[in-house]
Amino acid sequence: MLYIKCPHCGWRSQNEFSYGGDASVIRPELNKKVSDQDWDNFVYNRKSLRGKHWELWQHLSGCRQWIKVERDTATHEIFNTLKANEDIS
């Protein structure tokens, strides 16, 4: 079970969180024309990479904040966690 440092609450076990996928995905702006390709990339296409990965987790059984977590998908090592409004480097 992973040990995740919630930027709001501190260190908590994985079972308090739920996974939210790739944190680098940016939703296209509302009311703007979006090409089929761009929309497909937003909705479906993910890199599923092996290694360092910025991803979203929600501290569901805690502060309910969505946070950004930099994790190695192969080793589970966590390098950094950020609040929702902080930009990933």
Binding site: M1, Y3, S13, V43, Y44, Q58, R64, W66, A84, N85
Partner: protein, 998 residues
């Protein structure tokens, strides 16, 4: 029966407490503090089971966790448990155990014909032999193998025992209470660290219980006892025996299973049988010690052949002689310690040492005691079938290739020592890349990946002095980093005998003309010849050799076999051991019972149960409940001996004719506040929300970004910047997360707060033509007329002193209202509704009637909004705003979603107006078409229409908009039904929606 192999006055057992037990139906005695193994050995019992493949007689090989074969079926307090190691099971009064792997009995075993007829089952035997003919597998081979090759029988009864889980945090977790575990626990605890010390066995101390050493002028055991009693008094220390740390997981989380009651005849009241500890440790010290390696020779599996360390433990801890004419076969000094203990107790052992001329304090002591030692000697083969009777021995040449003349000497046990293998399982599980240590011919931990340090014998350190020193220092350093304390312990004086180097020899060559089985893996019956076959057949990777031969794959995880297997492969392949590499260690280190893993989450505790505030009323009024997610909801209220169909029909009919009330507390409720609340709703719902006036509700549909319908519900504008959203029961949690996601990550500029209020409000849906009459009486001070409270209107009212929210919304297609009060008043509200509703013939209705009402009026719900359908499919396309953007809108223009013949919601009625249509059935054009019959759609929900008094279903069907009036067939291969049907509009009742507005 006399315990003929028990010595007087030796051991740590309690001789004042005699315990009776039964093995294979026969009664024996032992003492408190015995294991089943030591008690059986005290009674001279060596034959305990049959081997897995060849059904050879097997006895005891170890004295603890390393035991590969003494596995029994245990009976305790009316329950039975398979795969119990006799060497680990503590004796209790009334214990019963039986041999496994033997049929019909341990003394006469039919499977052993495999052995005598020399139809030896070589490596890959199962793969090769039983592949053909295929039809034989189920009828002939599998039943035979199952009967012949089991490790016991799992109970099929419900396990009445209680198992618990515990979460714990500590600075240092120390696995193993031998010298390094005790020293490091003591040093860290004295330095203020929060310490958990875990010992697998009942007794603390590890090898200190059996070794002849002196620490600070005390014997090893006295020193251990002193440390333990001091640790137990310290508030920052948790000391646990009978607790195996079996798994090392991510981020320094370890799992330990504590056997709380397994050593008792019966679990005490309110106690668990076992407890699983999830421990998050800042640092982990692995002091798991080492396991003695077997030497490999002919028939080395005969009962009576055992590890020399085990023989010493039986002697020193249990006062039990494993034989009266012992032969000690060793390649190092450890065997001498065992021989010396025998000698001290009046037994004359013979030592066969593979070394030519070793010199050390221990060897000298043995010589001085007059023990007979034969150097450069080996055991070629053990003789005796069910017990060792003698040994064929021979001198071995200096190059260890040639055997001298074979001699036979009488003996009743052979104690083997092939040096020591560090127990690196936990370190390896943690991700540590282990490295090969040439000096000890074994793998030791390398560079740590997580916060773990391995100490003592587990790290290949075999002297006590060095072990204690490194443990004190490491624990001090690590605890200092955590606590910032600097309390140092004075290092005690250590006296131990010095030993000399071991011999790398481990496998005795076969004498000419003999093909004795020389076993590597005792539990899975893998012999030297099996590995040779595997390599001859081209298997090279150690992982493949392992799988083909099953080496190390038994429940003992190859604790005694892995290294010898590797040595053999490296010898044949002419590679060094590290080049061969070892297989991966995976948790658990020892078998863990399923009950402990599941813990308390069994039966009704497998998920939480949520009940509405009106639950007790429902119970009193004969509600039959149904699980709705984690909620318990009344399915119908049973009158007399009504069944579900009759009861729900009555309730639904009463809603259509009079008035009914339904508990809708379970609906998800989200309170939404803030100046941008309307904007948020406008973005998450597909329809327009900006112009909804205060005091009005609106039905909305929300999509996922991929265009699939996520949820539906009504949201009401309570005041200028305050909304009350409802969701379906099932999606409540997901919708809240969904809103939070957009507010926190996508549109943080929106000034809105959302919070779940599902539990804060109790809800009652009042539906039926007489619902307004009832409402007028419930709220005499409110104007609930059609003008005062029109369809989709909202008002607050006073329910006999209780503040209530009144929504005019309908799920049933009737004139209907929903009343919400704060949860504490839920029961009061319900009772008032029932009391005042009596004159209007009110009846409560459950989820089944609720479904009937919604299906026949064509209102979609969970079975249509199933995560695969878009708004069009559910005839919700009218709720898609063309003017504004919203979540998922862009996806709706995808090719498949705008196809001309896109699937759509329809109604289905059987032509005979009698036959009920099973949910999930397929719709086809021709019921006799050849398979696979093209499927046009599926039945999503079925009911018995109370309005029309015939079956009615909803279906989602291809080109649904052009199918109305068509005659098709419903096919249910599961129920073996073919029903001719007509496709009709999904609005089977009040298609114009006049009633809800009346």
């Amino acid at each position: 029966m006399v315990q003929s192999f028990r010595l007087e006055n030796l051991g740590l057992i309690n001789r004042d407490k005699k315990l009776s037990f039964r093995f294979n139906g026969k009664a024996y005695y032992g003492y408190e503090g015995d294991t089943l193994a030591s008690a059986l050995l005290a009674n001279g019992i060596h034959l305990i089971g049959r081997s897995f493949k060849y059904h050879r007689p097997r006895g005891f090989f170890g004295a603890g966790v390393d035991e590969p074969y003494a596995i029994v079926q245990l009976y305790r307090n009316g329950e039975t448990e398979p795969n119990v190691k006799a060497t680990e099971q503590e004796l209790f009064e009334g214990l019963e155990a039986k041999s496994v792997n033997c049929w019909p009995s341990v003394n006469f075993d039919i499977g052993a014909i495999n052995n005598f007829l020399k139809i030896f089952l070589p490596a890959g035997f199962y793969y090769k032999t039983f592949m053909w003919p295929k039809s034989f597998w189920y009828k002939v081979y599998e039943p035979f193998i199952r009967k012949a090759a089991g490790l016991g029988v799992a109970s099929i009864k419900h396990d009445k025992e209680r198992y618990e889980h515990k979460y714990e945090y500590c600075d240092l977790l120390i696995a193993g209470s031998g010298p390094s575990g005790l020293a490091s626990a003591y040093a860290a605890a004295k330095n203020g660290a929060r310490v958990i010390l875990a010992e697998d066995k009942a007794r603390f101390g590890g090898t200190l219980l059996t070794s002849e050493v002196n620490i600070g002028n005390k014997s090893g055991r006295e020193w251990a006892d002193g440390i333990i009693s001091e640790l137990k008094e310290m508030p920052n220390v948790v000391v646990k025996n009978r607790s195996q740390v079996f798994g090392y997981y991510d981020h320094n989380m370890l799992v330990m299973s504590e056997r709380i009651s397994d050593h008792l005849p019966k679990t005490k009241k309110f106690h668990p049988k076992q407890k699983l500890w999830y421990i998050r440790a800042k640092e982990v010290l692995i002091s798991s010690g080492s396991i003695e390696r077997p030497l490999v020779f002919g028939n080395n599996d005969t009962p009576g052949v055992m590890l020399s360390s085990a023989a010493k433990e039986y002697l020193k801890v249990y006062g039990v002689l494993v034989g009266r004419k012992p032969l000690v076969f060793t390649n190092n000094d450890s065997g001498y310690e065992t021989a010396i203990e025998f000698k001290k107790n009046g037994i004359d052992p013979i030592i066969l040492d593979t070394r030519k001329d070793p010199h050390s304090e221990i060897v000298d002591e043995a010589k001085n005691l007059g023990i007979k030692i034969k150097f450069s000697y080996v055991v070629v083969a053990a003789q005796g079938y069910k017990k060792v009777k003698s040994a064929d021995i021979a001198k071995i040449s200096d190059d260890k290739e040639q055997l001298g003349k074979i001699e036979n000497i009488k003996c009743d046990c052979i104690c083997v020592s092939g040096f020591w293998t560090p127990t690196i399982h936990l370190a390896s599980q943690s991700g540590n890349k282990t490295k090969f240590n040439e000096n000890i011919d074994a793998f030791v931990p390398g560079i740590s990946k997580q916060k773990e340090t391995t100490l003592g014998a587990a790290n290949g350190t075999y002297t006590l002095d060095e072990t204690l020193k490194s443990s004190f220092e490491t624990a001090h350093k690590l605890s200092k980093q955590i606590t910032n304390n600097d309390n140092k312990i004075s290092f005690p004086n250590v006296v131990e005998k010095k030993s000399t180097i071991h011999d790398k020899f481990w496998c005795v060559p076969l004498p000419k003309g003999k093909n004795y089985k020389r076993f590597l893996d005792f539990q899975n019956d893998v012999a030297v010849s099996d590995i040779e076959i595997a390599l001859r057949e081209g298997y090279r990777s150690i992982e493949h050799v392992k799988r083909y031969t099953t080496l190390g794959m038994a429940t003992d995880q190859g604790k005694t076999s892995n290294l010898n297997g590797l040595q053999l492969v490296s010898k044949i392949e002419n590679k060094v051991v590290p080049a061969v590499g070892h297989t991966t260690f995976r948790p658990p280190y020892t078998p863990v019972s399923i009950g402990a893993i599941v813990g308390r989450e069994v039966g009704k505790h497998s998920k939480p149960t949520r009940k509405s505030p009106m639950h007790s009323w429902h119970v009193k009024n004969n509600a039959v409940f149904v699980d709705a997610g984690v909620w318990l909801r009344p399915r119908y209220y049973k009158l007399g001996d009504e069944n579900l169909f009759e009861g729900s029909k009555r309730e639904a009919k009463n809603v259509r004719t009079n008035v009914g009330v339904c508990d809708v507390t379970t609906l998800g409720k989200i309170d939404i506040k803030g100046p941008d609340a309307a904007e948020l709703l406008n973005r998450v719902y597909s329809n327009a929300w900006l112009k909804l006036p205060v005091g009005k509700a609106r039905y909305g549909v929300m999509l996922r970004e991929d265009g699939i319908v996520m949820d539906d519900g009504t949201t009401t504008r309570i005041s200028e910047n305050h909304y009350h959203m409802t969701t379906t029961t099932a999606q409540a949690a997901n919708v809240l997360s969904h809103l939070e996601y957009y507010l926190q990550l996508v549109w943080p500029e929106l000034n809105v707060n959302v919070v779940s209020t599902t539990e804060q409000w109790a809800g009652a849906a009042i539906a039926g033509p007489k619902s307004r009459n009832l409402l007028q009486k419930l709220f005499p001070n409110s104007d609930v007329s059609n003008e005062g409270l029109p369809f989709m209107g909202f008002t607050e009212g006073d329910l006999f002193g209780v503040k209530a929210r009144i929504f005019r919304i309908s799920f049933s297609g009737e004139l209907a209202y929903e009343v919400n009060v704060e949860s504490d008043n839920g029961n009061f509200m319900w009772e008032k509704i029932m009391e005042i509703g009596e004159e209007f013939k009110i009846q409560p209705y459950g989820t089944e009637a609720l479904s009937t009402l919604r299906i026949e009026m064509g209102h979609v719900a969970g079975s249509e909004l199933d995560g695969r359908t878009i708004p069009y499919d559910n005839s919700l396309e009218g709720l898609l705003s063309k003017k504004k953007d919203f979540i998922g809108k862009r996806s709706l223009s995808r090719e498949a979603f705008i196809a001309e013949d896109r699937q759509k919601l329809v109604g289905v009625v059987p032509l005979d107006k009698k036959t009920s249509i099973p949910e999930g059935s397929h719709l086809v054009k021709d019921s006799n078409a050849p398979l696979p019959n093209p499927k046009l759609g599926y039945i999503s929900a079925s009911c018995w229409s109370v309005e029309h008094d015939n079956p009615f279903s909803l279906a989602i069907i291809k080109d649904g908009k052009n199918m109305i009036g068509k005659k098709l067939f419903v096919m249910s291969p599961l129920k073996n039904k073919v029903i001719p049907v007509e496709i009709v509009s999904s609005h089977y009742v009040d298609p114009k929606g006049e009633r809800v507005r009346s």
